[in-house]
C-alpha cells in the first residue's frame, strides 16, 4: 500500500486535485499533460489529499505543486530532494512527491538526487526532461545534446549530456522508469506504478518545451513514428516494437541489436526478454544506453528492487532503542551522565 493511504471517506475525483490557481505554463507546454496525468492517477491511490505533499525546486516544471490541491512546497533550485527527505523521515506516513527539471534535478541538484535515491526513501521523483532551461529562457541543460546551440552556447555546447537513468541506476535507485509527456496512457500507468512502489521511484519524463526547445523528442515521439522508434519495455516480455510488432532487440554479447522477426531466421524466442527485477541492474543499464536513431528509445520500468527504506530503518532503530533502554524523559535525560549532589 502506498504511503499515506487513508481509506476513509468517499473516493476523491481528479478535479479534487486541481487548485484554484491559474496554471501559468506557456500554452502548448508538455507540463500540462503531465499535470493532467498526475491528477488523474491520484484518486486511484486511495491517499487522502491532506496526506500528500508535492515538493519541487525551481524551474517551469517546479511550479507543479501550485496546481495540485495537496500540501505543496515550491522550494529553491535543486533542493527539493532534501526537503522531501526531511518531510519523509519525520513524517513517514505521508505520500511525498518530488517534481524537478533536468536543470533543477541534474545540474544544481544532481547530488541531492543521487543521495536521496541511494537512501531509498519512499519518495516519488518526477524529472521533467525538456533538455533545456525553460524558466531562465533557453540555456542548455545537462541533458542537452552535444553541440547544441542555445543562448549560452551560441557556438554549440562542449559537453557530453548525462543520462538520467544511468544516474538513477548508479545511485542504487529501486525503481527506474521513463515515459513521455504526450503518451498519456503510458505515462499515467508508470506514475501509478511508481506511486505503488515502496522506496524511491524515479521517472524521467520526456517533456516538450515548445518555446525554447520545441520538438526535442519529435524524431521519435511523434505520433506517426512513435511505434517504430520507441519501444515499450515490459517485465517478462520480449523486446518487440514496430507498427506491425515485427521488430525486436536481440543481444550479441553485450551488444543489443535491432532485428526483424521472420528475417534471417529470427524468431521471437531469440529476443531479449525484459526483467525488471534481476539481481544486478546490468540489463537496465544496457537498455538505458539505447538511443535513437541507432535503436528505438525504450520507455517503461527499467529496474525495480525491494530494499529497506531509510525512514523505515530509522523508525525501527528508534523502536528497538526504546524497547531496549525505555522511553526517554526529561528527568532521565538531564540526569544522564555522572551527576553529584551539592547540599
Amino acid at each position: 500500500m502506498p504511503s499515506g493511504v487513508d481509506v476513509k471517506g468517499p473516493k476523491p475525483t481528479r478535479a479534487d486535485f486541481a487548485t484554484d490557481q491559474t496554471v501559468r505554463w506557456c500554452p502548448g507546454c508538455g507540463d500540462y499533460s503531465i499535470l493532467a496525468q498526475v491528477q488523474k492517477v491520484m484518486p486511484n491511490l486511495g491517499v487522502a489529499r491532506e496526506n500528500i505533499v508535492f515538493v519541487s525546486g525551481i524551474g517551469c516544471s517546479s511550479r507543479f505543486p501550485y496546481y495540485m490541491n495537496t500540501y505543496g512546497f515550491h522550494s529553491i533550485h535543486g533542493r527539493a530532494p532534501t526537503i522531501a527527505t526531511g518531510i519523509k523521515v519525520s513524517r513517514p506516513e505521508l505520500s511525498v512527491w518530488v517534481v524537478t527539471g533536468d536543470g533543477d534535478g541534474l545540474s544544481i541538484g544532481g547530488n541531492h538526487l543521487i543521495h536521496a535515491m541511494r537512501r531509498n526513501l519512499d519518495i516519488k521523483i518526477l524529472l521533467f526532461n525538456n533538455r533545456i532551461y525553460g524558466l531562465t529562457k533557453g540555456q542548455y541543460s545537462p541533458t542537452s545534446e552535444f553541440g547544441k546551440k542555445t543562448k549560452s552556447s551560441p557556438f554549440g555546447t562542449a559537453e557530453q549530456p548525462i543520462n538520467p537513468l544511468g544516474v538513477a541506476l548508479a545511485s542504487e535507485c529501486t525503481f527506474v522508469a521513463r515515459s513521455v509527456d504526450i503518451d498519456t496512457q503510458h505515462l499515467s500507468s508508470i506514475i501509478e506504478r511508481a506511486a505503488r512502489h515502496r522506496g524511491t521511484a524515479f521517472i524521467e519524463i520526456y517533456q516538450n518545451c515548445n518555446i525554447f526547445n520545441d520538438g526535442a523528442f519529435e524524431d521519435f515521439v511523434a505520433r506517426e513514428v512513435r511505434t517504430d522508434r520507441m519501444i515499450q519495455i515490459e517485465h517478462g516480455k520480449p523486446l518487440v516494437f514496430g507498427k506491425e510488432r515485427r521488430k525486436g532487440i536481440r543481444l550479441r554479447g553485450f551488444h543489443p541489436e535491432v532485428v526483424t522477426i521472420g528475417e534471417s531466421g529470427v524468431s521471437e524466442s531469440d529476443l531479449l526478454v525484459h526483467d525488471e527485477t534481476p539481481q544486478e541492474p546490468a540489463l537496465a543499464y544496457l537498455l538505458s544506453r539505447m538511443s535513437y536513431p541507432e535503436y528505438p528509445v525504450p520507455v517503461g520500468v527499467f529496474y525495480r528492487a525491494d530494499r529497506p527504506r531509510y525512514e523505515e530503518i530509522v523508525e525501527q532503530q528508534s523502536i528497538q532503542a526504546t524497547a531496549r533502554f525505555g522511553a526517554g524523559s526529561i528527568e532521565r535525560l538531564l540526569d544522564s551522565g555522572e551527576t553529584y549532589k551539592v547540599t
Binding site: 487548485t19 490557481q21 487522502a48 489529499r49 491532506e50 496526506n51 500528500i52 505533499v53 515538493v55 525551481i58 505543486p65 501550485y66 495540485m68 490541491n69 495537496t70 500540501y71 505543496g72 512546497f73 515550491h74 522550494s75 529553491i76 533542493r79 530532494p81 532534501t82 526537503i83 522531501a84 527527505t85 526531511g86 518531510i87 519523509k88 523521515v89 519525520s90 513524517r91 505521508l94 547530488n111 541531492h112 543521495h115 530509522v314 532503530q317 528508534s318 528497538q320 532503542a321 526504546t322 531496549r324 533502554f325 525505555g326 522511553a327 526517554g328 526529561i330 528527568e331 535525560l333 538531564l334 540526569d335 551522565g337 555522572e338 551527576t339 553529584y340 549532589k341 551539592v342 547540599t343
Partner: protein, 619 residues
C-alpha cells in the same frame, strides 16, 4: 548515575589554595584529552567549581613528537565560583619536548612543571626544533621542575599486565594522571571505575591502565619528589544536583529538552564539521527519545531536510560551523520566506574560509544577522557559558516556534568543547514550550498572522482541509499565494522585519552587572562571558566604576539596551573578532562603542580585559 567519593587523607604537607590551573600537554596520541577529561570529571565529583579548555591540533595525528601534533587540555578548578579556565596554568604537565616548547611560555612564573624525561630523546628534541635540551640548558630555571621518567616508570608498573611495549607505553598518561591526582588530593576511584567500564572487553588494557594510574599516585605518595601537596576545598555551589557538562553536550541536551517540552520530535540535519560534529554524535545516541538525526550529503541538504521536517511539524534543527552556514544561507532565506520554525546552530571556529578549524572565534555574527540576499531577518541568540548552551538551546526553539521564524544559535569552539559544572534544573523550572498546530479549517489562511507575534499558523501536512502551497517566491499577505505586487512586497518585507523586531518584547531585558550607570560599560556576547565577568568583578572589587552587560540575544537586541548604553560614559565591546557587535551597536544606537578585539583562535584572558578597562578608565 551518581557517584559519591571520598578523599584518602594523604600524609605529606598540605597547602591550601583557592584556585588551580593545570594544563596537560602531549602528543595527539598521548591521550591528553582523556587525561584532562578524567581529571575534570573527578574534580567535579569532589565538588569544586571548574572550567576547562581543550586545545586540539588541526591534524588527526600529526607525526609523533612534532609541534603540529601537540594536544592540550587546561582545567581551572576552585573552591570559589570561577568562570574561566584560567589565564595561565600554575601547573604544566608536558609529555614531550614539542609539548613543552609550545606551552612553556604560558606557565606562571614559579609554576610547577612536570615532564617525562624519557621523552627528551635527541630525536624528539629535533622534531620539536629544540637546539638544546631545555631540561639541561637552564632555560627552565624560573619554574619548579619535576623531571620524572614517566615512560619507564609506567613500563615497570604495567609489566605484569603483559602488554606489548607500545601498548604499555600508551598507559603513561594514566601514570601522569595518578601523580596529579595525588598532588591535588583527588581520589582515583572514579577513574578506576571508568577504566573498568571502558575496557571491559580488554582485560589486559584495563589492568595496565589501572596499574599505571595507581603507580602514579603511589609514586607521588611514597617518593619524595613532591614535598607537599595541595588542597582545594569544595566550592560553595548552590545546593542541587550537578553534572559536569561541555557546551556541545549541553546544546544537544537543550535541544532534546525542547522536543520533550514541546511535544514535537526533534529532527537534526547535519553534515560533520569541526567543532560542531559532537552535537551530531551526541544527538544520534538518543534513539529512545523523540529525536531523529540525519547525516546529510552536505550542509545544504542538512538544512533542506531540517526545513522539510519543520514543515512536517518537527522541531527542525541544523547544526554546523561557519563555512557550513555559508552554504546554508540560501536555504535560510527560504525558511524566512516560508516562515517556518527552524534553528541553525553555528559552533563558530576561526575563519575566514577553512581558517583555523579547531580553534575558537566569534566572527560569524555578521553572517548570522546580515549574511543573506535580500531583506532577510532572523533571530539570533548566543549562549554565554557551556552550561548556558542548555538554556539557550531551549530558548532558540521557544522563539522559533512562537514567532515562526528561523533562529540562529551562536556557540563557538571554546563553549562547545569547554566544560563546567551544570546545576541540573528541576523540571518545574524549565520554560513552557506551548506549540500548537493549526487544525481549524474555518478562516484558515496560510499567512494570516497572530496579531501579537505576527506569527503565521503552523499548518502541517496531514491536516484535512488545510492543504496549501508555500515557497520561496514573494507571498501575498494573508493568502500566501505567489504575488508580484509591488505594494504587497513592501508590506511583506516590512512585516517580516517587524515580526523579528517584536521578539524584543518577548525576551528578558539586559541586566547590568554592577552599578546601573557609570564610567565604563563592558558589553559582551557569547563565550567571552567568563573572562569579561571575571575582569569586571575584579575591578569592581577594587572599586572601579565599571559595569558590564552580556547579550544572549543579538537580534533583536533586548528592548532596554539603548537606555543602558546611554547611561555610561564609555562602552567597551570585547570580542573575538574585529568588532562585529560593536558595529551593530554603533549603527543602531549611534553610541561610540570601542572594540577590544582579539583574533587568535583563543579566548580572552581575564587580564587582557582588565588591562583594557583600566586603560579606558585612565584615558
Amino acid at each position: 548515575m551518581s557517584t559519591e567519593t571520598e578523599v584518602v587523607p594523604p600524609r605529606a604537607k598540605v597547602t591550601e589554595i583557592d584556585t588551580v590551573v593545570i594544563r596537560f600537554v602531549g602528543d595527539s596520541g598521548d591521550g591528553m584529552q582523556l587525561t584532562g577529561t578524567q581529571f575534570a570529571d573527578t574534580t567535579a565529583l569532589v565538588g569544586n567549581d571548574l572550567a576547562t579548555l581543550p586545545d586540539f591540533p588541526a591534524e588527526i595525528r600529526a607525526p609523533a613528537g612534532t609541534l603540529a601534533g601537540v594536544s592540550g587540555y587546561q582545567i581551572s578548578f576552585s573552591s570559589r565560583d570561577i568562570k574561566t579556565p584560567g589565564d595561565q596554568p600554575d601547573v604544566l604537565v608536558a609529555m614531550n619536548p614539542a609539548a613543552l616548547k609550545t606551552n612553556i611560555g604560558d606557565l606562571e612564573e614559579g609554576g610547577i612543571l612536570i615532564v617525562d624525561t624519557d621523552a627528551f630523546t635527541e630525536g624528539n628534541l629535533a622534531k620539536a626544533g629544540c637546539k638544546t635540551n631545555p631540561l639541561k640548558d637552564r632555560s627552565l630555571t624560573g619554574f619548579r621542575v619535576f623531571d620524572i621518567p614517566l615512560t619507564s616508570l609506567t613500563l615497570q608498573a604495567v609489566a605484569e599486565a603483559g602488554l606489548t611495549g607500545r601498548q604499555a607505553t600508551r598507559c603513561k598518561n594514566f601514570f601522569a594522571l595518578g601523580l596529579v591526582f595525588w598532588l591535588y588530593e583527588r581520589p582515583v576511584d572514579y577513574t578506576r571505575e571508568w577504566i573498568e567500564k571502558k575496557f571491559k572487553d580488554h582485560e589486559q588494557m584495563a589492568k595496565a591502565n589501572t596499574l599505571a594510574l595507581l603507580a602514579g599516585y603511589n609514586y607521588a605518595d611514597t617518593t619524595e619528589v613532591f614535598t607537599n601537596h595541595f588542597r582545594v576545598r569544595k566550592a560553595q555551589l548552590l545546593p542541587g544536583t550537578y553534572r559536569k557538562i561541555t557546551g556541545n553536550e549541553a546544546t544537544a541536551t537543550g535541544f532534546i529538552t525542547a522536543a520533550l517540552l514541546s511535544g514535537r520530535p526533534l529532527f537534526y540535519g547535519s553534515y560533520p564539521i569541526t567543532p560542531a560534529s559532537d552535537v551530531l554524535h551526541e544527538l544520534s545516541r538518543f534513539k529512545n527519545y523523540p529525536v531523529k538525526t540525519f547525516q546529510a550529503e552536505d550542509e545544504i541538504s542538512a538544512i533542506g531536510a531540517a526545513i522539510g521536517a519543520s514543515y512536517g511539524g518537527a522541531l527542525g534543527l541544523t547544526g554546523t560551523s561557519g563555512p557550513g552556514v555559508a552554504l546554508k544561507s540560501e536555504a535560510i532565506g527560504l525558511a524566512v520566506m516560508t516562515e517556518l520554525p527552524l534553528v541553525i546552530a553555528n559552533i563558530q571556529r576561526g575563519g575566514p574560509s577553512t581558517g583555523l578549524p579547531t580553534k575558537t572565534e566569534q566572527a560569524d555574527l555578521f553572517q548570522a544577522v546580515l549574511g543573506r540576499n535580500g531583506e532577510c531577518p532572523v533571530a539570533v541568540v548566543a549562549p554565554a557559558t557551556p552550561a548556558d548552551c542548555f538554556a539557550m538551546a531551549i530558548e532558540a526553539f521557544r522563539i522559533a516556534t512562537r514567532f515562526m521564524t528561523p533562529v540562529f544559535f551562536l556557540s563557538d569552539g571554546y563553549l562547545g568543547n569547554g566544560a563546567e559544572p551544570w546545576k541540573i534544573p528541576p523540571k518545574s523550572e524549565l520554560p513552557e514550550l506551548d506549540v500548537r498546530f493549526r487544525t481549524e479549517q474555518e478562516g484558515f489562511q496560510p499567512y494570516l498572522r497572530d496579531p501579537k507575534t505576527l506569527a503565521r499558523p503552523w499548518a502541517v501536512p496531514g491536516t484535512p482541509g488545510l492543504e496549501h502551497r508555500i515557497g520561496g517566491l514573494e507571498k501575498e499577505d494573508v493568502t500566501g499565494n505567489v504575488s508580484y505586487d509591488p505594494q504587497n512586497h513592501e508590506k511583506m518585507v516590512r512585516l517580516r522585519a517587524e515580526k523579528i523586531a517584536r521578539i524584543a518584547s518577548d525576551i528578558p531585558r539586559v541586566e547590568v552587572f554592577g552599578k546601573d550607570s557609570g564610567r565604563v560599560l563592558v558589553v559582551g556576547w557569547g563565550s567571552t562571558y567568563g573572562a569579561i565577568t571575571s575582569a569586571v568583578e575584579e575591578l569592581q572589587e577594587k572599586g572601579r566604576p565599571v559595569s558590564s552587560i552580556h547579550l544572549r540575544y543579538l537580534n533583536p537586541f533586548p528592548a532596554n539596551l539603548g537606555d543602558v548604553l546611554r547611561r555610561f560614559e564609555k562602552v567597551l565591546v570585547p570580542e573575538l573578532n574585529l568588532g562585529q557587535l560593536s558595529m551593530l551597536i554603533r549603527a543602531r544606537y549611534l553610541v561610540d562603542a570601542i572594540g577590544l578585539n582579539k583574533v587568535q583562535g583563543k579566548p580572552f584572558r581575564v587580564s587582557e580585559i582588565t588591562r583594557a578597562i583600566e586603560e579606558l578608565l585612565r584615558g
